[in-house]
Homo-oligomer: 482 residues x 2
């Protein structure tokens, strides 16, 4: 009977296992354009994001979150041609939904829906674009955006100048201190096109041609304007005179005296705004990295005022002067977006900046790889090891004591692990201290405390152990050795 029962049980177990057998007939992969993040990648990401968040908080930002998907209608008509890149959810009966394409449109929807007229918020979250992924160039279909925005009817350029300050502080704190923050103004661009005689219906397409000046020489951009966009050569040449200019206050002053430009009210308004923000940048101590750059156009239709973009220059943080990652942050003022969601079209003026964290992650990962930098993925301070067999309970008792003292501690999940394997684990995970227990130590009421890097060991009594560990960890933090 016993045997029968066992056979029955075995049959049952096999039955339970049957769904596994042969169920895995597809290639194991993540969806196209997406990836998993390993503990090392996550460690780099958290360290970068924590630094960025510290700057946002230094400036009083709150944070919000919105769902990963929105009603499809919320996204409709906000992204122009790029709308084709939006991920839709299947119609499973109910609402028609799409994955968010950026964080700005959900933010505007949030403000309008909750009738919020003032907020300073950051939002760090993933967005989704069915783009052609270019893994080599670090372009994915799922990626982080990291946005800071100030919403509210305030006075000219005060929040705008603080956004510049925030970009400045973030790039400094990340150690990427070779950068330029380019500034321009939508009204100036519009005014300049007007003054040069561009037909109004071509403003946007000429704007997007100008936007390519950071990658292409003027001759190529001019050819696009004339041959593809049908501008006369003389108009293109006039535009060329302006958009190749960059400088500081003195350039603003010069342009304010330009007869052609100052015929456009819009251009003058833009120039006055530039003058003010450059003055504020001076006060905020960001002028050394700021450049008034007439070639900066930025693609998005919804900008209405100041636009900015930070680019890494020269030898970038990866140590490789040739690996130009280009734009690493950008943004601008968009005063009309929230009104698109309000039934009475009530506007909430906004200005904001998006930090290109994916590029920053890529630059840092390349740098760490090039310099063979080891990245710690855990915070463990003390590893509890045993030198002989049958001491697992002694290890557990000591771990408990150290956890209860607040230390970050781990030990092997094997009953009788080899001492060498335990010590190798410490080195692999860069754990600063190991406590080694053997039978003789247990009898004497002591432990061996080992500095993992130097491999130096001292005997410490059990009662003194917590203080001794604290002392050594303090040294370790100060000098990098326990």
């Amino acid at each position: 009977e016993e045997v029968a029962k066992l056979l029955e049980l075995k049959a049952k177990l096999n039955e339970d296992e049957s769904p596994q057998a042969g169920s895995q007939k597809f290639t194991l992969k993540t969806p196209k354009g997406t990836r998993d993040f390993s503990p090392e990648q996550m460690a780099v990401r958290s360290s970068v994001l924590n630094k960025i968040i510290s700057v946002f908080k230094k400036h009083g930002a709150e944070t919000i979150d919105t769902p990963i998907f929105e009603l499809k209608e919320v996204l409709t008509g906000k992204y122009g041609e790029d709308s084709k890149l939006i991920y839709d959810l299947k119609d499973q009966g109910g609402e028609i939904l799409s994955l968010r394409y950026d964080l700005t449109v959900p933010f505007a929807r949030y403000l309008a829906m909750n009738k919020i007229t003032n907020i300073k918020r950051y939002h760090i979250a993933k967005v989704y674009r069915r783009d052609n992924p270019s893994i080599a160039r670090g372009r994915y279909r799922e990626f982080y955006q990291c946005d800071f925005d100030i919403a509210g009817a305030y006075d000219a350029m005060i929040p705008d100048a603080e956004c510049v300050k925030i970009v400045y502080e973030i790039l400094e704190i990340l150690g990427m201190d070779q950068f330029v923050i380019k500034l321009n103004h939508r009204l100036l661009l519009d005014g300049l096109f007007e003054a040069c005689g561009v037909p109004k219906d071509k403003f946007r397409s000429i704007c997007s041609a100008v936007d390519k000046l950071d990658k292409s020489p003027w001759e190529e951009v001019k050819r696009e304007m004339v041959e593809e966009k049908g501008l006369s050569e003389s108009v293109a040449d006039q535009i060329g005179e302006y958009v190749q200019l960059n400088g500081k206050e003195e350039l603003v002053e010069k342009l304010l005296k330009d007869e052609r430009l100052t015929k456009s009210k819009s251009a003058v308004e833009g120039l006055e705004a530039m003058k003010l923000i450059l003055h504020y940048c001076d006060i905020y101590g960001t002028s050394d990295k700021v450049s008034f750059d007439l070639s900066l156009a930025r693609g998005l239709d919804y900008y209405t005022g100041i636009i900015y973009e930070a680019v890494l220059v020269g030898g970038d943080a990866s140590g490789d002067p040739e690996s130009s990652v280009g734009s690493i942050a950008g943004g601008g003022r968009y005063d009309n977006l929230v009104g698109m969601f309000d039934s009475k079209h009530k506007q909430v003026p906004c200005v904001g900046v998006s930090i290109g964290v994916e590029r920053i992650f890529a630059v840092l990962e390349a740098k760490y790889a090039a310099t063979n930098t080891k990245i710690r993925t855990t915070d463990i301070q003390v590893y509890v090891a045993t030198a002989q067999k049958n001491l697992v309970e002694e290890r557990m008792k000591l771990c408990r004591q150290l956890w209860d003292e607040g230390f970050k501690v781990e030990h092997s999940y094997k009953k009788n692990p080899k001492l060498l394997a335990q010590l190798q684990h410490c080195e692999e995970y860069s754990i600063p201290l190991a406590v080694i227990l053997g039978e003789s130590e247990i009898q004497k009421g002591v432990v061996k405390l080992r500095e993992v890097t130097s491999r130096a060991e001292v005997e410490v009594s059990r009662t003194q152990l917590p203080d001794e560990i604290r002392k050594r960890l303090q040294n370790y933090c100060l000098n990098g050795s326990a």
Copy 2:
């Protein structure tokens, strides 16, 4: 001509605004079963998650991330009946994708795909279920999961006991100290069904009936077993004798002497495992909250060993003894899931726990609402205010100085805000200190430093200001007053 230009410009501006006019014809809302999180909600969430993460890190956990969607095939056949709740993406040409339903299946896919055989990781992220949302009961279609798992072939109950310790530490650190962690074992349940004469094909359905014992009295569960699931009354009564038991080691000892039960090899194995984990709980100092509970069954098919569930008891943290939130963490061992993704069915044994963070958030939000607790949503330490007009640049200079000293500082984005409005902002956001600048202060090279709560003001010289602020912030942190 000037007028014509202006009219033209005006026409253009109106044109630019046209997409807004009348474009918003739908109700502004988030998708069914989802919601936005306000700064207050986010503050509660980050504070809870940071505490939980600190416990995970104390035990050496790394973190990983996986995409929000998976190939549909990855999720197929993992959730039984609940598969109908999976969100599918629209087929836009390319792979067929679904939003993740939990974090465990993506974790198993990650391990198999990367051939990882050992890892201790946590993963906090949102998951998606097309469930019938019950906002009143805090059930949403988009919600956080917060998982900790130990993967690897280790010795019996060592990682399992640490999971219990982690749940224990998390609930303590969150101040939810009235809880019980119920433990049971899948092999014991199977063995007990076997010993009582339940037909094998009814194990799972009887198991799910037992699972209801935390909400329904035995009489009702028995009725379900007999009337709905076709068990004979005598078999049900036998089951009833066992599943209403709970206790500690002494119950294990008693059951190990039970003649009916010990005929099942599976039951004996389960009991021996329970004995070991209870012993380890003793060593880890968690026994006072641990209960061996034979009614604990847990729904998921993939558990193969220990199962556990933490429940809040008595007066819960909300201060309302009647608001029973029930299960607040749960998990167990699942040794066969990773093998389902491996082409050679190579197993990676896993044990893990999921912290019910959404319930924890709900309990804390209810508690804060009931006690009128004010939640700070920013970290601002100093607000820079001006007492007269035309001092915005003076404010900006001082902000810059304080930012550069590392303080968290903000000021009004209005040029000439009213002093009262500025001070009200400080009170609204619980900012501890305000620095007030007026013309006379500027001339004398001093500022007024104001403690916002007490409204006490002192005059401080500009050079002494940073030290004075530091001193007061230290007091503020220690005593809650600046």
